[in-house]
């Protein structure tokens, strides 16, 4: 049987009194790329942020249901969200490096965990930057401020920063929407390489991107999962009319 990083069941979520997710059920396979598509406001980011419990930081949010991460119930009060977030990394829509050096950005997670040894940090920074395919561009200026890099480089620094924590899942919310086509291509290639080591969940508005890089695709509409299947299946032969309408650009 296929291994799942996440098993989500009956997930309902409210912002105040308005419900943003309805009975979401979704198993996310390990070491694969899962794409989440759907029109604006359908709950993609909300779902992603539920997976690392970042959504709880919104005042007035209420979450009900079941999210199992590697078999553990992460919604239980015993589960510390900080611990979860060191194992489930996140990359945001807009590159958001800290106004610190490149080195300090990548070493941030390790330092939060209390790792101080320079040799350990050095090695980890190098390895992460290499994995994020940005090492060659920045190896001579690790002590320069990361804000001085281009948007595409910043986003790869953010990816390096996320994987430096040695997570096993990386959540990406429209990671290329603020990037130019060439940077986008590099990040897409990177995602393909990363799935060897990590489970990747990526939200995207770009249908071609979803079909290029993902193994499985979920189509969200109004906070519900309409269809969730192998990417080939979704794009070549969708079962639901609404999926077909969406991917062929007939709405949303």
């Amino acid at each position: 049987m296929e291994k799942h990083s996440y098993e989500v069941e009956n997930l309902n979520l409210w912002y105040g009194s308005s419900q943003a997710l309805h009975e979401v059920k979704m198993d996310i396979p390990s070491n694969q790329v899962t794409a989440i598509i759907g029109p604006s406001g359908c709950g993609k980011s909300t779902f992603l942020k539920a997976l690392n419990r970042m959504v709880e930081m919104v005042p007035g949010v209420k979450v009900a249901g079941n999210i199992k991460y590697n078999g553990d119930d992460i919604l239980s009060s015993k589960y510390h969200p900080e611990e979860l977030r060191t194992k489930v990394g996140m990359v945001f829509q807009h590159p958001n490096p800290f106004p610190k050096s490149i080195y300090d950005n990548v070493a941030f997670g390790a330092r939060v965990k209390g790792i101080r040894k320079k040799a350990v940090l050095d090695e980890m920074v190098e390895k992460s930057l290499k994995r994020a395919a940005i090492w060659d561009e920045v190896k001579d200026r690790l002590n320069k401020n990361a804000m001085g890099l281009s948007g595409g480089q910043q986003q790869r620094i953010c990816i390096a920063r996320a994987i430096a924590n040695e997570p096993d899942v990386v959540l990406m919310d429209e990671p290329t929407s603020a990037l130019d086509p060439i940077s986008t291509l590099r990040v897409e290639e990177l995602i393909q390489q990363l799935k060897e080591h990590y489970t990747i969940v990526v939200v995207t508005h770009n249908m071609q991107q979803a079909s290029r890089i993902s193994d499985r695709t979920a189509f969200f509409l109004n906070g519900e999962i309409i269809e969730y299947d192998n990417t080939d299946q979704i794009f070549s032969n969708p079962r639901d009319r609404r999926t077909e309408d969406y991917i062929s650009g007939r709405f949303g």
Binding site: P97, F108, N145
Partner: protein
């Protein structure tokens, strides 16, 4: 057809009319803004020149040695007077007050922006705005009636002391530091806080590893502004510090500051005397220091990162 043409010319006329009157308005506005700016610059220049002229006379007309003036402590109103104890007193009050107010101010700024946002914005923020507006004489009065007796009974001495000055001025500059720090922290973009939480940092780790470093230049600016205010404060300090000429030996000793000596001695001097001129020199020193504070603030805030 004809109608359309007519309305077009009408429109044209309207536009023209609007155009010329808005141009006039623009000119008037420009004149107003430019002359305001000119007045501010002229006033600053005039104060600087006047104080410079008056202050420098001591050293040229009365032949007081600058070195002697800055480094000795004997203040008798003659050519041999030295202002070092007041310079020391002013710096001591300023740094001690900052020592009290900086941690408290930044702490409460963090509290009201990051920890208890609702409560902080509804209660703390208005309280701080009120505190900023309280005249310094009120701080002085409270200092004399509450702090001074409290120190006398619990710490010893007369109560009038550097320590009393530090507490009163510290409390006085606290709201300044708090409100500027709070603005600085609020200006830190949410997305770098999200990045920190997303990497598994707790709220405290996010505060001291991300928020404080990113806001640091602005926090420093807040502290220096508070110090500038402390350095120039006269009334409240004068009411609690004792105004004793001579170097204090401990924090519980009485002392005097540049400002308190100017306000106390001025009525007892005759215009044109050495003593009078010496006070102008103290004023010039204060002015130079306020320029120094401004330069420091410029320098620190130019290092802002976000």
């Amino acid at each position: 057809m004809e109608n359309a043409q007519k309305s077009e010319t009408n429109n044209h006329r309207l536009l023209k009319k609007n155009g010329s009157s808005s141009k006039k308005n623009e000119k008037r506005g420009k004149a107003l803004v430019y002359s305001s700016a000119a007045i501010v610059i002229i006033a600053t220049l005039a104060i600087t020149l006047f104080l410079g002229y008056k202050g420098i006379r001591t050293f040229f007309v009365f032949d007081v040695s600058v070195w002697n003036f800055l480094t000795t402590t004997d203040w008798d109103g003659t050519e041999n007077s030295g202002a070092f104890s007041f310079i020391f007193g002013s710096f001591a009050v300023t740094f001690l007050a900052a020592l009290v107010a900086a941690p408290l101010g930044i702490g409460s700024a963090i509290f009201m922006t990051e920890i208890a946002k609702k409560w902080g914005q509804k209660v703390l923020q208005p309280v701080i705005e009120i505190l900023v507006g309280i005249p310094s004489v009120v701080y002085g009065l409270i200092g004399v009636t509450v702090i001074v007796p409290l120190l006398r009974d619990n710490v010893g001495g007369l109560g009038f002391s550097l320590l009393a000055g530090m507490i009163v001025v510290g409390v006085m500059i606290l709201p300044t530091i708090t409100s500027i720090s709070a603005d600085a922290i609020k200006a830190i973009p949410q997305d770098i806080k999200d990045a920190s939480y997303g990497l598994g940092a707790t709220r405290w780790q996010t505060i001291y590893k991300v928020i404080i470093p990113a806001a640091l230049p602005s926090l420093m600016t807040a502290i220096v502004l508070g110090m500038a205010r402390a350095f120039g404060e006269a009334l409240a300090v004068q009411m609690v510090i004792g105004n004793v000429k001579g170097l204090p030996e401990s924090i519980t000793d009485q002392a005097a500051t540049l400002t308190s000596i100017i306000t106390l001695d001025m009525p007892h001097t005759t215009y044109g005397s050495v003593h009078n001129s010496l006070l102008w020199s103290l004023g010039l020193f204060l002015l130079i220091m306020s320029y120094v504070f401004i330069i420091i603030i410029r320098f620190v805030s130019s290092r802002r990162k976000v």
